[in-house]
């Protein structure tokens, strides 16, 4: 997989990535590790079970991971979702909004997943 191309496809400046993550082979390793991470699944399951606290944690972690790897579109989507979930009370949350934001996250995640594998 051409990492440089991968980043360009998702709209991220590869030089930035390199500057932060330093070595190309490491980036490859990290991306694969990223896929192994289970937080995306956690997020989905939590939302299904309406466990918003759990969902928040998962979304938050996902955000962190994406930021670390400069997966900007996913990071932004995850940030939006986790920010929305932060108040954590089921009453104030609009399930439709949650669903919308989750969809965004899902889309980005799947895109990246496909590109990497």
């Amino acid at each position: 997989m051409d990492i440089q191309k991968f980043y360009e496809t998702i709209g991220v400046d590869y030089n930035l990535v390199l500057r932060r993550l330093l070595r190309e082979h490491l980036i490859d390793k990290y991306l694969h590790l990223f896929l192994k991470d289970n937080n995306f699944d956690r997020l989905g399951k939590a939302l299904e079970a309406r466990d918003y606290e759990e969902a928040f944690k998962a979304a938050h972690t996902l955000k962190g991971l994406s930021l670390n790897l400069e997966l900007t579109p996913l990071a932004e989507a995850a940030a939006e979702l986790s920010a929305y979930l932060r108040p954590l009370t089921a009453e104030t949350l609009d399930p439709d909004e949650v669903e919308k934001k989750y969809e965004k996250v899902k889309t980005e995640y799947e895109t990246i997943k496909n590109l990497i594998s």
Binding site: L21, Y30, K36, D37, H60, T61, G64
Partner: protein, 692 residues
């Protein structure tokens, strides 16, 4: 010495493997990395490795235990004081950052992080904290050194004791080690005995003294190769009470914890758990735990060592005998501890004993001390000491004052040499308070007052001063002034009064002189009667205090005094005044007052006169007494009198009325006496007689 090449260890705590990986890759070239995927794991790692971890990189949002939970636990266990924590989180809200700092976090790095920043910050933090640790270990080294010296001293002393008992110094060292091992086991299993590190150190040191009472036991009994007779055993048993008594009679250090433990151990290391021990038949936990442990250690060591009366048993045999109850009854908890350590006890004792080289040193030193080859003070110190002594002696010898120094802990007072001449007492007096040993020279009340004065001093105001009467060497009582200063030791919390120094100066002559001068100021210089001011004061005072007793104020003067002066000269006039004053003085009682209140005016105040008739009679008497011839010159006197309280209740009232009476006398031809009446008329008392 720690090798400087050794890498420091960093603990990374984050639930996402990717995050841990990222950090690990940045740091692993320079540090050892340990990872934990959640808070719980992190705590487990810290519990077992808290000394080796130099820094923690901590995520906040984690399952089961969040970063904050970890921080809270760290605070509780005081790990946060020695291990710096850096938070790495994508949480950027001020709230989280603030909260982290409240928990004592050192730094906060947010995601996405820059590897160079992480490296730099980690490095800086670790350097900062390692300096701290270096200082701490320096201090620890010092403490260990000091403790080792203490232990050495105690070992030497107890080895000397052991020599006499025919045992080697090894017994003492082994008892110490076994006691230590048992206490460590006790601490782990039974928290109720509150056994902490300082107790373990103190008790194992004190244990070395457990058999000092054996000094009092005759050698034939101590070293008898066979079984002791009943009488011999009874004597042997006294060594526990004896040893404790020796420690009770210490002049200093009686309250030291070490000594307290030593006393307990000495006295009760032969008590039994069931109360059948000696000397006091203490039972169960009435026996102090220190004594219980040393008792067990002593029994074990006696079993596995050779003695004059038996060969050594093996470790296993000894344990078995103790567990079977063949060698005394012990606290079941202690037995449990013994069982627990039994496996490694033998090796541990061997290991912990100092190596043979050291042992010989201890023995060597002890032998030398026993043969009285003491250690010398440095020559220079001795010389300086001698100089100070010479200076002090000279300075104290050239002064008349007696210098003193009192030590509270020994209740002893020391005086400079002059005390022998001044008070006929020795230079050192012990038991000052306990036996009131200065009662020969200071009486009880004064001493009590002096004591209170000294005790009322404080570090802020340490000096004191007083005057009192002391008995001199020839038995006379004279006035002395004591000036002193209290000396305080500064411990951390409260200042202890430990000594006071000062001087005792004879002020008798000054005091007497002072009093004399005071008196002088009150007297008229020519006649030595009270002067006008003094008269007012004294009589006024009498009037204030004696409200009931009637009194009589008499004013009189010499008639035609000016003529007398002109005819015979002023000197002669003075002489007559003196003469009359003398007569007046001689004709009054001790409690009456005679005064010269003017150039040629005298006052006599009689108090407690009986009645008015007496008044008259007295005036007549006085006029007769006062009128005499002086060296051939005749003179007469005019008198005026007023009574108290009839004619006035204050000095000025009486004085005015008596003066008015006197005026009347003067204008009635002189040489007569007038008594005041407050209705305006005066009572002419009598005509004066003409002198013979």
């Amino acid at each position: 010495m720690k090798s400087t090449v050794q890498k420091k260890t960093i603990l990374i705590v984050d639930d996402a493997e990717l995050n841990r990986c990222l950090l690990s890759d940045i740091l692993q070239d320079d540090y050892n990395i340990v990872e934990a995927c959640n808070g719980k794991e992190a705590i487990e790692i810290l519990k077992h490795n808290d000394a080796s971890i130099s820094l923690i990189l901590l995520d906040l949002i984690m399952p089961e235990m969040t970063g904050f939970d970890v921080l809270a636990l760290m605070q509780k266990n005081h790990w946060h004081e020695t291990i710096p924590v850096v938070i790495i989180s994508s949480e950027n809200s001020a709230e989280y950052i603030e909260k982290s700092y409240e928990y004592g976090v050192v730094d906060y790095i947010s995601r996405p992080f820059d590897p160079s920043i992480v490296t730099q910050r980690v490095k800086n933090t670790i350097i900062l904290y390692s300096k701290q640790k270096e200082l701490e270990s320096l201090i620890k080294e010092q403490v260990i050194e000091k403790e080792r010296n203490n232990a050495l001293m105690i070992n030497i002393l107890s080895t000397i004791v052991e020599f006499r008992n025919g045992e080697s110094g090894l017994h003492v060292i082994r008892i110490r080690i076994i006691t230590e091992i048992l206490m460590e086991a006790l601490r782990k299993r039974y928290q109720e005995y509150s056994m902490d590190e300082s107790h373990i150190a103190l008790i194992s040191n004190a244990a070395a003294l457990h058999d000092i009472g054996k000094n009092e036991i005759p050698e034939e009994i101590l070293n008898k190769p066979g079984k002791l007779t009943y009488e011999e055993f009874e004597i042997m048993k006294t060594h526990s009470a004896c040893g404790a008594e020796m420690l009770e009679n210490l002049r200093f250090g009686n309250d030291e914890e070490l000594v307290k433990y030593a006393r307990q151990i000495c006295r009760w290391h032969h008590e039994r758990w069931d109360g059948n021990g000696y000397p006091d038949h203490l039972k169960g936990d009435d026996i102090p735990i220190a004594a219980q442990i040393v008792s067990l250690a002593d029994v074990y060591d006696a079993l596995v060592s050779e003695r004059v009366y038996k060969p050594p048993y093996t470790h296993e045999q000894a344990i078995q005998m103790i567990l079977n109850g063949e060698c005394g009854m012990f606290n079941p908890k202690l037995i449990a501890c013994l069982k627990e350590v039994s496996g490694h006890l033998e090796q541990a004792v061997k290991l912990r004993s100092k190596d043979p080289g050291h042992l010989f040193d201890v023995n060597q030193l002890s032998r030398e001390i026993v043969q009285k080859k003491g250690v010398k003070l440095s020559d220079r110190t001795l010389f300086l000491l001698e100089q100070e002594r010479t200076k002090y002696q000279f300075l104290t010898s050239i002064t008349d004052e007696v210098l003193f120094e009192y030590d509270f802990s020994t209740d002893t007072i020391t005086f400079s040499d002059r005390c022998r001449d001044e008070f006929n007492i020795p230079t050192i007096v012990t038991e000052l308070f306990s036996h009131n040993n200065l009662r020969g020279i200071i009486d009880k009340e004064d001493f009590q007052k002096l004591t209170e004065l000294v005790y009322s001093a404080s570090p802020a105001s340490p000096t004191f001063q007083t005057q009192l009467i002391m008995t001199t060497s020839d038995g006379s009582k004279e006035w002395y002034e004591i000036v002193g200063r209290t000396l305080w030791s500064n411990d951390d919390q409260n200042e202890q009064l430990y000594s006071c120094v000062g001087r005792i100066a004879n002020i008798h002559r000054q005091t007497i002189e002072g009093r004399r001068l005071e008196e002088l100021a009150q007297k008229d210089s020519l006649t030595n009667l009270f002067n006008r001011d003094a008269a007012q004061k004294v009589v006024g005072h009498i009037l204030e205090t004696r409200n009931q007793a009637p009194g009589l104020m008499i004013l009189f003067d010499l008639d035609n005094f000016r003529e007398l002066n002109e005819n015979n000269g002023h000197l002669f006039g003075d002489q007559i005044l003196k003469h009359v004053a003398r007569l007046a003085e001689n004709n009054i009682r001790k409690m009456d007052i005679a005064a010269r209140v003017g150039g040629n005016e005298f006052m006599v105040y009689l108090h407690e006169v009986v009645s008015e008739e007496f008044m008259l009679m007295y005036c007549r008497m006085l006029s007769i007494a006062l009128k005499q011839c002086y060296q051939g010159t005749e003179y007469t006197i005019s008198i005026g009198a007023a009574a108290y309280p009839k004619d006035g209740t204050s000095y000025s009232e009486l004085f005015t009325h008596a003066g008015q009476a006197l005026y009347e006398s003067k204008h009635s031809g002189k040489n007569c006496c007038t008594i005041y009446r407050n209705d305006g008329t005066m009572q002419a008392a009598f005509e004066g007689a003409v002198p013979e």
